[in-house]
Symmetry: C2
Subunit: 202 residues, 2 copies
């Protein structure tokens, strides 16, 4: 009789890998067999890292940055300008801006950008929380630091409309950023220039 | 003060993902943030699948196929021809041959192919175990079913030399046109092999 199925634990791991973005069935098999053959305990190390991620990290209840403590260290830092708010798509974007050392205000992490193609609407992002925070806060300026991509621009435009009634000055990063690029990997000088040259949203 | 490091559990998972083949630092970040945002408990599901893989699977001590029981179901199947041995690179190759239903003998899984470029030598594969198995066994024919690639061909050549003293008949899979293929689009090397291996019309 032909023996034509993988052991269930092998098939299960292939299926789990294939659920991740950018990993197809072939890559999922390759990763699984790499771990099967592999380097002592690498599968268990990865499992433990996944469990630790789930157990020890959360979103900051103020800015939605990823953090071990709530509120996060940025929100807890009293040396930061409470009148300035920078809105980013992802936690890694926040880190990139921090590395530029050109910003000393507060942040708000959206966790994505509006993308009709991928079915991501404003209700999937931290937009309601942003509007509430701005309405109830002391912010004088909001920098929309979304990515210089189609999705990022749409998101900025949408936010500008949603925040139009609040009388807060709305700016966005200067076009020092190359269109189609990725904020996370932009060098520090370019990011500094983009922050310095920010312009009023019109 | 600039806050410019990721929480340690996040960085740890990025590092673990980046150790996997074909996943660079950027993909590793993307996977990690996908899981952070993600679908309820997907990180824990993946962790559990990894632990189950480690706990419930092993290599068959006879043929080195991946299995939950040792020996594996193929080795335990008394209905299979004990004189015929098929040598493959990977467990997935074994499954592909099983799906063809054209083979009813035994298997031996090498777990790779000889590749000087990637630093894989015969000592990294289950070659010694193969030689021992053939010398101590009742095999009359060994089919070297390695892949039709440079590495697979080198491996087959090496095995043919190592097994030359055993008087067992050594064969390999036919090279030729794939069924359903198109002669016009077939590459030159495949066409050369198909011509060399031409057979009398019967």
């Amino acid at each position: 009789m032909a023996h034509n199925v993988l052991p269930q634990p092998v098939q299960r791991l292939i299926d789990e890998f294939a659920r991740l973005p950018g990993i197809g069935p072939k890559s999922a098999s390759r990763l699984t067999f790499f771990l099967l053959r592999g380097a002592e305990n690498q599968a268990l190390e990865l499992a433990s890292a996944l469990q630790e991620l789930q157990a020890r990290t959360r979103f900051c209840s103020v800015c939605f940055n990823i953090t071990e403590m709530d509120p996060c260290v940025v929100c807890e830092d009293s040396g930061r300008d409470p009148n300035l708010l920078c809105v980013v798509e992802e936690p890694l974007d926040l880190l990139a801006i921090e590395r530029s050392r050109a910003f000393n205000g507060r942040y708000h992490v959206l966790h994505g950008a509006i993308s009709p193609v991928e079915g991501v609407g404003p209700e999937d992002l931290r937009v309601a929380e942003l509007v509430e925070r701005v309405q109830g806060g002391t912010f004088r300026e909001i920098i929309l630091a979304t990515n210089p991509t189609l999705e990022g621009e749409s998101t900025a435009l949408y936010l500008q409309r949603r925040l139009a009634g609040t009388k807060v000055k709305i700016t966005r990063l200067a076009r020092g950023l190359p269109i189609g690029g990725d904020l996370e990997y932009t060098d520090e000088i370019t990011l500094s220039r983009a922050l310095e040259g920010r312009q009023e949203f019109s």
